[in-house]
Symmetry: C3
Subunit: 150 residues, 3 copies
């Protein structure tokens, strides 16, 4: 009886899951059992730093293998430009997201830039947000991530 109920519940969840869990959401999940955890910071204006932080993420994936690493790229201040919807690197960001890399956009920077521009800025749909970049970095460091600013 109980088994039957579990079976039905299980089937329901699987069916729901087929509709409810988009690729993006899966890619944004943390990997608690990954052996290597990196938080990569981008906060500089220099556009070459945008390419660099993506290169470093790519090198980490190649070195350890996608299943062994957990990478989150946290952007704040002028570095937020990497996560503007129309950034020229958005194709590379899509590729990294499909390899499990997560992106985080500093809420403080979003609000400050929005106030400066007088209209909401458009952020890459793959990026999470909702708190300050520094707060997100601290959360990840406290969970054992190594912080590197390329």
């Amino acid at each position: 009886m109980k088994f039957h109920r579990w079976l039905r519940m299980g089937s329901l969840l699987i069916v729901l899951g087929m509709f409810a869990a988009p690729q993006t959401l899966l890619a944004q999940e943390e990997k608690p059992f990954a052996e290597q955890k990196f938080v990569l910071q981008i906060s500089d204006m220099d556009p070459s730093k945008q390419t660099l932080v993506l290169n470093v993420a790519n090198n980490i994936l190649k070195a350890y293998g996608q299943d062994q690493v957990d990478i989150e790229i946290v952007a704040f201040s002028a570095g937020l430009r990497l996560l503007f919807e129309d950034n020229s690197n958005s194709g590379r960001i899509d590729g990294l997201v499909s390899s499990g890399v997560r992106f985080f956009a500093c809420q403080n920077t979003i609000e400050n830039m929005t106030a400066t521009l007088g209209e909401p800025i458009r952020i890459n749909a793959h990026a999470s947000s909702g708190k300050g970049g520094i707060v997100r970095i601290k959360e990840l460091v406290d969970q054992g991530y190594t912080l590197v600013k390329p």
Copy 2:
């Protein structure tokens, strides 16, 4: 007898303390029981980094509350300019000091700049010094501070 002597000594210290302990000194004390400890590094020439490091300190204070965080900003190399007495951000520095943020000026940089200029440089009165910025950073990291370079 001995007790009396201690009492008199104690009263004297309390009275002296009322005059001798300025706000600044209190603000410069470490908070060993703070839950979140940050050492923020500034060593770049770019003046926008001066604003940024102060913004980040402010965001940390807002996110956790002044009593829950311990923040020290360590300036070295070209970043020492933030702590020049006549820096345009000195008003903001005063405000952060009154919120408990500490500032540290690299002794090596002070000496090198003094040698280069041929006269002593004037450092913000709120800043501590007396050892290298890298040595101060290491001390703080060893005490559990998270090092971030905005």
Copy 3:
């Protein structure tokens, strides 16, 4: 019999070692019992960062004493220029190597720059390599090194 073979092998290795282990190799050894361990990152284009990272290494040596510290400078991206054979700081690099400082050149950057230039780039003979700079940084951080990017 077996013992004799080992003895001969051992003698051979010792004799070979007398010729094969140059000063450089010795200087590149890690110091597992050093009390202070630093990995200094250089990845910026700005040439003043080359001087700065060497200054910081020097300040660490002065502050703790050569025998108490273990320093490795990891160069990647545009920071690899510090380790170009013809870099103007090569004299200072020689001096730091003789004080036990190690240098590491990111293999990914070497390969990318070689591909871009169409010919192998010449790297300072004191520098180790063979893996990515980010991988080397992670190895050292996992061994208790404090990562600082001057």
